[in-house]
Symmetry: C2
């Protein structure tokens, strides 16, 4: 029988999660000292690496003293023999270990990282993000985010989309809504882009189907649990659609791709956070805005008919209704009144006061907004005139539509909002590595 | 025998590239009218879609008049019978077609998009980017870019890296080098990030191995063919390295992943541009800075010994040397003098005036810069003191290193620079959808 110890040279680093498959081998672990526990005749060092935790057991006065010297969070290299032990994490630990420090002795973090949760307020955690995020529970949302983005891209790559990178600095603050940040552009005034909307539409004329994953900026003067001044927008736009339903079908496939990737690549992170990954139905249920209002009038104390938008309480009720009636955690609400949508929104030809647009509700909140856009130059001029807006600031944007553009539409998913909802976070900052807001510009 | 015409419903859109496999079928194409040619008894409409070109042949006075009505770049839907014709693009064309416009009649673009190349200066092309990029030759670099980024990510995903998204707005302009753009941050002054360097290093403490694909901003006052004010940086950083050679090994695999993806996903674009995708050797040759200088002194008219950096002509000579001596279009130059590298660069322990850093030369130009970074808090303090810089502006960055950081390093690839080199572009703007520079803030 070949000893497994011959297959892993002592100098090659193995990861904590590999130990159970290497019983009997002499191996080297490298990682952070997550926890040190000294008993009378034994010192346990628990190392943390990107795969998880592993324990090394030091006995004898010399080894124990060498192990006990290192403060928690010091980066260590530990070489020893992998030994089965049902009590150890993963059922294996290192015995007869020797230890070397790869960093200087770590200063204690402002909170203990080895406890099950970090006992500190969110502002304190955010102030110390580079260290706080080492805690497995605070790290997990970002593993889920990374998996989600991978799923987003894989789904769209499979559908013939092309990835683009568009400018984040623009000449005019033309998209209405949230405020913009001004930039000193070689002595002139420019602005940070609030979305890649105009660029992605123009690129439908080039690639037909495009997506972008990138930062967007909102000078949001509200200090809430839901708003960030910079977030990551997952944008898609596609041409040759019949109407918004073709866009919704792509979004459905994207959500299926994202949830599949989360299950496959971030299962441990979800388990750690108790996050349940939703099933994406083959066909996500949809309800028209006016029918949604009728339902709310009939079944809740409110009568929202005549209102141009849904209140948060109404979105929650509709989400519960979709779960109850259709067994779906997702619900498309279509046909929002044109008055509440951007000027580039395509109206419903059969009912022009309503739009060929949608919101996707997920677990009680709006997660995605999208729809069909106008594609004829004269329709843009009429839409702007109808809102009393001069076309001049949009000259560059509108030029695209002079030269032949197909019916098209798209959507944008806020990555941090998606992850927050998925893990049930009380604050969107939990799903942001280094949040930027009214009060926070560091670290 | 089953007719293929039953397998494709007439209403389903097919792509131009699919026609040769659908001989005999009744199909619908949708795309831009690339070229219209009217002869005495026939009108040809060449449609362009994301897959390529396809031709429809209109005969008879009524059909010819209907076809001849549409100006080029109008978006059309054409339904007809797929008929083999060796003279047609791809060997098949649509006969007995009917045509409907999906857009309004297009205004003529400022240059003909159907000619083999666009007969306009680069500034004119850039002014009209949304239309100009529809030209297959101007579109192709961006297909190559998209493939390259996909390859970058796939390679790193396979090596256990985690994707991150870091702030593009920062509190202080701490990275030396190019200028920074100032942002009005709710009445305070902030800056656009010149690189994710500090963030990616901090995230090595959390994920060990991270990458980011995102915009970086350089307030570059030079108007050259090589500089952009915003570009896409492909950043990677990894912990638990022995030295910079572990970083170089990852970069080698990343380049192999990028070139594989370009071959696989952008072969047509490369062929159109005559771009030769380089082979990435199993081991990219490397040369130490001092040996490179010795070679240059021995074999060129120059004697650069004592200079702290390589001149562009020297980089070209070394690239040619690597191709001649090692058959490689890539060459690592290692050991650059510490004086020319950023303060966080790790010195060579055996020769502390030189660094554990590298440049990667590709076809005569520096493509990538990277290296090992300092990882001990006290080394950072000493490095800053040695440069006469106070540590105060770096407090947040330095805090990471108080709490245990492993030996680590990384690199950054400028996406537009990579694509430019690959296609042999004279100007980096050819590889940028909507360039931003000293003189250009639109479209």
């Amino acid at each position: 029988m070949i000893s497994t110890s011959t297959t892993v040279p002592a100098t090659r680093r193995v990861l904590a999660a590999e130990l159970p498959g290497l019983i009997g081998a002499q191996v080297t672990l490298q990682g952070w000292l997550h926890r040190r526990r000294g008993l009378k005749s034994v010192v346990f060092l628990v190392l943390r690496d990107r795969s998880g935790l592993a324990q090394a057991v030091f006995t004898g006065p010399g080894a124990m003293a060498a192990a006990a010297r290192h403060p928690e969070e010091t980066v260590l290299q530990v070489t020893g023999t992998v030994t089965g032990n049902p009590q150890a994490p993963g059922g294996a630990e290192l015995t007869s270990p020797s230890v070397t420090a790869l960093s200087g002795p770590a200063e204690p973090p402002p909170f203990d990282l080895y406890r099950p949760t970090v006992a500190a307020s969110l502002p304190t955690v955010l102030d110390h993000a580079p260290v706080a995020l080492r805690h497995p529970v605070l790290r997990a949302p970002h593993v889920i985010s990374a998996a989600s983005v991978a799923g987003f891209r894989a789904a769209l790559d499979g559908l013939g989309f092309t990835e683009i990178h568009t400018p984040k600095i623009v000449a005019s603050a033309t998209e209405s809504g949230a405020g913009v940040f001004a930039v000193d552009w070689f002595g002139d005034r420019a602005y940070l882009a609030q979305s890649p909307q105009f660029f992605k539409q123009a690129m439908v004329g080039v690639f037909e189907r495009v997506y972008e994953v990138g930062p967007v900026f909102r000078a949001e003067p509200h200090d809430t649990a839901r708003h960030l001044a910079q977030y990551t927008s997952l944008d898609a736009e596609l041409g040759f659609v019949a109407d918004h339903r073709d866009v919704m079908a792509v979004l459905r496939d994207v959500l299926a791709g994202m949830t599949d990737a989360v299950r496959r690549r971030a299962g441990d992170a979800c388990a750690l956070l108790g996050a349940e990954v939703p099933d994406v139905p083959e066909r996500i249920p949809e309800i028209h805005f006016t029918r949604a209002q009728d339902l709310l009038a009939a079944h809740t104390g409110d009568d929202p008919r005549g209102e141009p938008d849904l209140a948060p309480a109404h979105e929650r009720w509709l989400s519960e209704w979709a779960l109850r009636e259709h067994g779906s955690e997702f619900l498309f609400v279509t046909g929002y009144p044109m008055a509440k949508r951007p000027f580039y929104t395509h109206p419903d030809p059969a009912s022009p006061a309503h739009s060929n647009s949608f919101d996707l509700l997920f677990r009680g909140l709006e997660l995605v907004t999208g729809g069909q856009r106008l594609h004829r130059h004269e329709d843009y001029l009429a839409a702007l005139a109808g809102r009393g807006e001069p076309p001049a600031p949009y000259t560059g944007y509108l030029a695209t539509f002079r030269h032949g553009m197909p019916p098209h539409g798209g959507f944008a998913i806020g990555l941090e909002r998606w992850t927050s909802r998925l893990i049930g976070a009380a604050n969107i900052r939990t799903a942001t590595l280094f949040p930027r807001d009214l009060h926070r510009l560091t670290p």
